[in-house]
Amino acid sequence: MKRSLLILIIAVLAGSALFAGSYFMSRRVCETCTGKSTDSLDWLRQEFQLSDAEMARMHELHDGYLPKCGAMCAQIAAKKQELDTALAGATNISADAKQKLTELAILRSQCQAQMLQHFIEVSQAMPPEQGRRYLVEMERLTVGAHEQTEQSMSEHAGHEHMHGGN
């Protein structure tokens, strides 16, 4: 009885080890093989099944967008630096700091608009169905993520108001 139970336990353990070993090895191999590409546009090809010609157009659009995005990011970084300087050591928000905040917000919204414009151009260069799907997905991943944060914060604030009222 004890011997049989021991054999059964060993068999179950060996089976589990076999399954786990092959699972981790296969996962590692797949991650290495499919993730070794350094092309940042690989996802577009995988997700939207784009042809070589379409991918060439994607690269063209992407390469045209990156310098504009980089320039905008540099402006935002510079403005953020100015804001940090205006806020350094202050106990109140000065008029200058408020001005910098407004300018930073304007720059960010311009950058966001430029980014959304790029998404629209990319979606238009895709077959219609994939283009629609791309646009929805990109809005979800960029602007949508921001909205989720705001929504969760407003819900949190609402709860706090309710607690405050009681």
């Binding site: 068999a11 076999l18 092959s22 699972y23 981790f24 960029t142």
Partner: protein
């Protein structure tokens, strides 16, 4: 003196008490019932042992062991490949989003 006087009385008293005590009679087929209960309590243990031993001897057959090993390796590989592909796909998506959307806008 006192001991000699009291002993015969005690023996008489004990004999009277033995006679007065009634011995309850056993229910009908008592012995048969006891044996049946003993047998019933032994049956599940024996059955469990047989079941376990049968399972172990079945699992130790080379044909079954080999089939089980192949099935486990195949299932593990498939699950791992699926998970690996999903992770790689997620990485590719993150790489693309990072390249087009600066962190400050997400």
């Amino acid at each position: 003196m006192e001991k000699e006087n009291s002993n015969p009385n005690d023996e008489k008293l004990s004999a009277l008490l033995r006679e007065a005590r009634s011995t309850p009679s056993l229910p009908p087929r008592f012995q048969e019932g006891v044996w049946r209960r003993i047998e019933e309590s032994e049956i599940p243990a024996t059955a469990r042992m047989n079941w376990l031993e049968a399972m172990v001897s079945w699992a130790l057959r080379p044909k079954f062991a080999l089939t089980a090993a192949v099935v486990l390796v195949a299932a593990g590989s498939l699950a791992g490949a699926r998970e690996g592909n999903h992770a790689a796909h997620q990485d590719a998506q993150t790489r693309y989003v990072t390249s087009v959307a600066p962190n400050s806008l997400r």
